[in-house]
Amino acid sequence: MQAKGHVFKFGDNVDTDVIIPARYLNSSDPAELAKHCMEDIDRTFIDRVQPGDIIVAEKNFGCGSSREHAPIAIKAAGVSCVIAETFARIFYRNSINIGLPIIECPEAAKGIEAGDEVEIDFDSGMIYNRTKGAQFQGQAFPPFMQKIIAAEGLISYINGKK
């Protein structure tokens, strides 16, 4: 599995309240949530993001509330992968459970800038910065999580399990 797109760059501690503000949580429709994705941190994000684009952030991405609406909004906005130095733990497991690819890679978080074109190979965990000609080794998922991702989320994984 691969992803390719342009990068939107964010800093430390991007919380789920700015990813999808609580005032929109009276909806659980992915398309509706996507319309307000990142609204409180970057008003222009949703107008600029293209299918396949990639979010790169620094420490503790997705901290705060457990709202699964946050990874759902990001995925529905067309983002193909989130790369961060570290993720908050509930966001991390929610992303795996709904099938949004995420990669922890401190070097990539530092070596990639907004607008760079980045390509990711999920099988190897390799991240290529095509704009700058650099590459980074991201952390690969343990086998247990790979199974959940291969099943495209926890629900199908459970359905497939005997």
């Binding site: 501690n13 919380d15 309240d17 700015v18 503000p21 609580a22 005032r23 949580l25 009276n26 909806s27 659980s28 409180d40 941190i41 420490k59 503790n60 901290c63 705060g64 509330s65 457990s66 709202r67 699964e68 609406h69 990874p71 759902i72 570290t86 908050a88 733990r89 509930i90 497991r93 929610n94 459970n97 709904i98 343990p142 247990f144 989320g153 926890l154 629900i155 199908s156 459970i158 359905n159």
Partner: protein, 421 residues
């Protein structure tokens, strides 16, 4: 090698004699929790499962608390979805308007969590129940759906940070000051993926309400859970609130910790977290002159009876400063009633505060106290992120009920001693 308290609970729930940090396990669950925001997503996910029935109708708790009584049509529809699901599956612990309270205050009060339990909740502050010596952690809606159907969840066994508490806190210093001090010290990702285990002689000097407040905010340091040893006070609490048997786990003497911090509770001062992160802490003395427009006293962090009592003690015979709105929200119906019987509600109203039915309301910027651009609020809630209580240009300062009440009187961030308390 020895195990931490959290590791021992997880090992038992996974049917293993030993677990190590980093190990992936599947554990049996004693309780699966959801609220009016997260449950509808979980219910839709559950519809996609081959097995659509709940694993045990007594081990699921559904609490309508965030946007209820319904704030708008969409909220009403979410609540209806949860209500119908609860009815169809005969969920024993479904709490609707009239019975509900803020989930993390309600569940211990109803005796639904006891020591040794493994609990997941589709709400990040599910870590609150660590005060009772249970392992509890926040998850998302898909985990909740899987938990409701299978009674199991996957976990990566966490390593731990030990917080050794000593001494006795001074007057007006509460669990909120303790946890804000800790988050200020280690940062909002200081305990990322880890357990925060609280130990030491100082624990005995903290009430159960203080411990709930501390465990509640473990997530604000990135923690997977926060947990307290089960002492006489915790046993007493469980005996008063629950008929369920409990199991006490203790950390092994040779358990390994990533770090140990010693905190002398007697040295702590009234503490405030400045916008826009809970780690931006200062003592009130360092805060300088910060004028405010609103005070909120409530939430799953500080909406318990002791919080009401502290706020009332400060507001008794005083007035909320003109130009400041003070909103008091008891966290559950029981607390509301108790506050009424003790005359606390009268004190609040006479002081010029408003008192609301239990709800999360303003804590997450839902309703009942939304801030306009440029407005500032001192709040006993747990998050002060950008836009958390309203406009993106508003500001939330996190503090204890004592500081919040004193600030309501002066109209700026203040500690009780400033008004002669």
């Amino acid at each position: 090698m020895g195990m931490t308290m959290t590791q021992k609970i997880l090992a038992a729930a996974a049917g293993l004699s030993e677990v190590k940090a980093g190990q992936l396990i599947e554990a049996d669950l004693n309780l699966v929790l959801g609220n009016d925001i997260t449950s509808p997503v979980a219910i839709h996910e559950m519809e996609k499962l081959n097995k659509k029935e709940v694993f045990d109708k007594d081990k699921i708790a559904l609490v309508l608390d965030h946007f209820v009584p319904n704030k708008d049509i969409k909220s009403a529809e979410h609540c209806k979805c949860v209500r119908e699901f609860a009815c169809k599956n005969e969920v024993t612990n479904f709490f609707d308007v009239g019975e509900m309270g803020i989930e993390h205050a309600l569940l211990p009060e109803k005796g639904l969590v006891v020591a040794g339990d493994v609990v997941i909740g589709a709400d990040s502050h599910t870590c609150t129940y660590g005060a009772l010596g249970a392992f509890s952690t926040g998850v998302g809606s898909t985990d909740m759906a899987a938990g409701m159907a299978t009674g199991k969840a996957w976990f990566k066994v966490p390593s731990a940070i030990k917080f050794e508490l000593t001494g006795r806190p001074k007057k007006w210093i509460s669990g909120k000051d303790v946890i804000l001090h800790i988050i200020g010290m280690i940062g909002v990702d200081g305990a990322l993926y880890k357990s925060m285990e609280f130990t030491g002689d100082g624990v005995a000097n903290l009430s159960m309400d203080d411990r709930f407040t501390i465990a509640n905010m473990a997530i604000e340091a990135g923690g997977k859970n926060g947990i307290f040893p089960v002492d006489r006070a915790a046993e007493q609490y469980m005996k008063e609130h629950s008929a369920r048997p409990y199991q006490i786990y203790e950390a092994d003497p040779d358990a390994e910790y990533d770090e140990t911090f010693v905190i002398d509770l007697s040295e702590l001062e009234p503490t405030v977290a400045f916008p826009h992160l809970p780690e931006n802490t200062k003592t009130v003395a360092e805060a300088g002159e910060v004028k405010i427009d609103q005070v909120v006293i409530g939430s799953c962090t500080n909406g318990r009876i002791e919080d009401m009592r502290v706020a009332a003690e400060i507001l008794k015979g005083r007035k909320v400063k003109k130009g400041v709105r003070c909103i008091v929200i008891p966290a559950t119906q029981k607390i509301y009633l108790q506050a009424m019987e003790e005359g606390l509600l009268k004190t609040f109203i006479e002081a010029g505060a408003v008192v609301s039915t239990p709800t999360c309301g303003p804590c997450l910027g839902g309703y009942m106290g939304i801030l306009a651009a440029g407005e500032r609020c001192v709040s006993t809630t747990n998050r002060n992120f950008v836009g958390r209580m309203g406009h993106v240009d508003s500001e939330v300062y996190l503090a204890s009920p004592a500081v919040a009440a004193a600030s309501a009187v002066t109209g700026k961030i203040s500690e009780p001693s400033e008004i002669g308390c």
